[in-house]
Amino acid sequence: MLAAWSYAVLRVCGLVLLALAGGWVFGYPWLWLIVLALGFLAWQLANLHRLERWLAVRDPRGGIEAPGKWADVVAHVGRLRRRNRMRKRRLAELLREFRHSTDALPDGAILLNRRREILWCNEAAARLLGLRAHADRGLRIDNLIRHPDFVTHLERAGSAGGRSSVELASPLDEAVLLSMQTIPYGDRQNLVLVKDITYQAKLEQVRQDFVANASHELRSPLTVISGYLDDLVEDEKMPAVWGGPIREMQRQSQRMQAIIGDLLELSRLEAPGGETEHNEIDVAALLAQIHRETLALERRPRDVVLTIDTEARLLGRESEIYSAFSNLVANAVKFTPEAGRIEMRWRADSLGAQMSVIDTGVGIPPESIPRVTERFYRLDGGRARRSSGTGLGLAIVKHALQKHQGMLEIESEPGRGSTFTCRFPPERIVVPVENQIPHDQVPGT
C-alpha cells in the first residue's frame, strides 16, 4: 500500500517538477502543468484501452507492446493465461482418456440424476439399449426404456436404497437378454449398469437341458440292471457267497434310481415355466397324508406330531408342494434318533403362512446352514455314510418354494435339533370363510 502510494507520489512529483522546469524556462508554469497532466492522463487512458482490447480477444497470440508499468501488467496477464490454457488442455486430455476407457468397457453404464434423467452414458449402454449417447442426455430413462419390469425396478431402487437387478430383453432385439443393475450414489443419483447376459442364459439353459437329458437317458439302462438284480436276489441256485454283493448292488442301483428321479424333478422345477398354476391346495389334508406316510415308516422317531393352526389354503401346484413338504419331513426323519420327536405345523398370520418341520435331531452346524440347499452337499463323511438320501432333497424344496414365491428358513442348533420353515407370501394364501378351527392336534403313534 505504502509502496503503491510512494510510486504514485514519485510519478506526480516528477510531472510537477517537469512542468515547473518548463514554466521556469518558457514562462506560463500553470499552463505547462495542465497540458502535461492532461497528456499523461490521455496516455494512460490509451494504454488502458489497448489492454482492454487485448484481454477481450479470447485466444491472443503473444502480448502487446506497452511502455512502463503497463508492460508488467501485460506480462503478468500473459503468464496467467498461458498457465490456464495448459491446465485446460490437461483436463480435456484427462476427460478424453476417461471417455475412451469407459467406451471400451464391455458393459453399459448410465448415470441418472434424481429425476431419472440421463446425465451421461457410455457407448456400450447406447449400443445395448438403443440410446443415443449425446442426443438423449437430459431425457428420462424410463421414457426410453419402458419395460414395466424396469420401471418398477427403478422405483424400488429409488425407495429401498439398496442394490437390485432386473433381467429383460433388449428393446432393439428380443433375442438379447440384458441384466440391469441400479446402484444409488450421491444425492439420490443412480448408476445403472447394463450387461449382456444372453450367453450366460444360454449356458444355463444348456446345463439344465443336459442334466435333464442325461438323467432321462440313464434311467432306462438302470431299470434293466435293477430288474436283473431283483431276479438274482430271489434265485435260489445262486451260490451263497454272492448273496451279500448282489444285495449291495441292488441297494446301490435303487439309490441311483432315486438320484435320477430327484434330478429329473429338480430340472422340471428349474425349467422357466413362468407362474405356477393357481389351484387351491388343501394343505391340512396334504400334511395329514404325509403324516400317515411317515407313521407307516419302519424306522422313525417315536413321536411324529401334526399341528394344524389354520384352515388356510395355498395357491399353487399340489405335486410340487407335496414334494417340498415330504422332502423336508423325510430329511427330519433321517436325522432324528428313534427317541426323538418331529412336529409338522401349519400356521397363518398377516405375513402369510408357514409350514414348519421341527425336529430334535442332530442339527446343523451354523457354518453349513447356508449351504445345505446346494445339490449333493453333505455335512460330513460320517453322516453321509449313514444316511441313504440322494443329496438333492433340500435343493428340490428350495426350487419348489421359489416357484411359489416362498422362502425356506433354517434354524438349527447342533445336538438340539433343527427347524425348517417354508414361508409363503399372503397373495398365495386363501382363507376359507369358516376360518376358526383351533389347535387340532393329531398325536403320533
Partner: protein, 240 residues
C-alpha cells in the same frame, strides 16, 4: 415474478409427469403385445389368458391419464405447444388402449390355439409379424419420447411392410384352408391374430402422426408420405 416462475415450473413438471405416464402405459402395452404373441407362438394357454386378464391395467392407466389431461386443461389453460402436447396425449392414449385391446384378443386366441394341433412351421409368420409390429410400437414411443419427427416418419413407412406381411399371411392361410378344410377353424384364428397385429401397426402409425402434430403443429393424418415428410422436416430439425 417469483410466483409466476414457480407456477410455470409446476406446470412443466405436470406436463413432464403426464408424458412419462403415457410412455409408461406404452411400455406396458408393448409388453402385453409381446407376451400375447409369445403365448401364441409357444402355445401356452395360461400365458395367453394372463395377458387377456391384465388388459384392465392398460384401461386403468388410460382413464387416469385422461383425467389428468382434463385437470391440466381446466387449471392451467395451456396454449400453443403445451396445448398440442395435451391434445396429442389424449389421442395417443386412445390408440394405446386399442393396442391393448388387440393384445387381449391375441391372448384369447393364443389360449384357444394352444389346445389345437400346431402347424409344422410353429407359427413362424406370426412371430415374425409380431416382432416387426413390436419394433414399430417401440420406435413410435421412442419418437414420442425424443420428439423426433424423422423417426416418426420412418415408423409410418415401416407400416407398409406390415401390411404386406399381413397380405402374405392371409394368402397363405387361404391356401392352407383349401388344402385341408378340417383346419379352417384353426387357420381362421391365426388370421384373426394376424389381423390384430396389423391393426396394432396402424395404431403405432397413428401415434407417429400425433408426434409430428405435436412437434410441428401440422396435421398429417390422411395425407401421403411425401407431404408428411415435408411437414416433419419443416420448422426445424425435430426437438421442440
Amino acid at each position: 415474478m417469483e410466483l409466476a416462475q414457480h407456477i410455470s415450473r409446476r406446470f412443466d413438471e405436470d406436463l413432464e409427469g403426464l408424458r412419462s405416464s403415457v410412455l409408461a402405459m406404452g411400455g406396458l402395452v408393448q409388453e402385453q403385445v409381446a407376451e400375447a404373441v409369445n403365448a401364441l407362438v409357444i402355445g401356452d394357454s395360461e400365458r395367453g389368458l394372463q395377458v387377456a386378464h391384465d388388459d384392465h391395467k392398460v384401461n386403468d392407466m388410460e382413464v387416469a391419464i385422461d383425467e389428468e389431461c382434463s385437470r391440466i386443461i381446466a387449471r392451467r389453460s395451456p396454449t400453443a405447444g403445451d396445448l398440442r402436447l395435451i391434445v396429442a396425449i389424449i389421442k395417443t392414449i386412445t390408440d394405446l388402449e386399442r393396442i391393448g385391446d388387440e393384445a387381449e384378443k391375441i391372448g384369447f386366441l393364443a389360449s384357444r390355439l394352444a389346445a389345437m394341433e400346431r402347424p409344422s412351421n410353429n407359427y413362424r409368420e406370426i412371430r415374425h409379424l409380431g416382432r416387426h409390429v413390436g419394433q414399430m410400437i417401440n420406435n413410435a414411443l421412442d419418437a414420442f419420447a425424443r420428439l423426433d419427427t424423422a423417426a416418426a416418419v420412418e415408423v409410418v413407412k415401416a407400416d407398409s411392410v406390415v401390411d404386406e406381411e399381413y397380405e402374405l399371411i392371409s394368402r397363405q392361410s387361404i391356401t392352407f384352408m383349401m388344402e385341408d378344410p378340417r383346419n379352417i377353424r384353426r387357420i381362421l384364428d391365426v388370421m384373426w391374430a394376424a389381423r390384430s397385429l396389423e391393426r396394432v401397426g396402424d395404431h403405432a402409425k397413428n401415434i407417429c402422426e400425433y408426434v409430428i402434430y405435436m412437434v410441428q403443429g401440422q396435421d398429417v393424418r390422411h395425407t401421403d408420405l411425401s407431404r408428411m415428410e415435408k411437414a416433419a422436416r419443416d420448422g426445424g430439425s425435430g426437438g421442440a
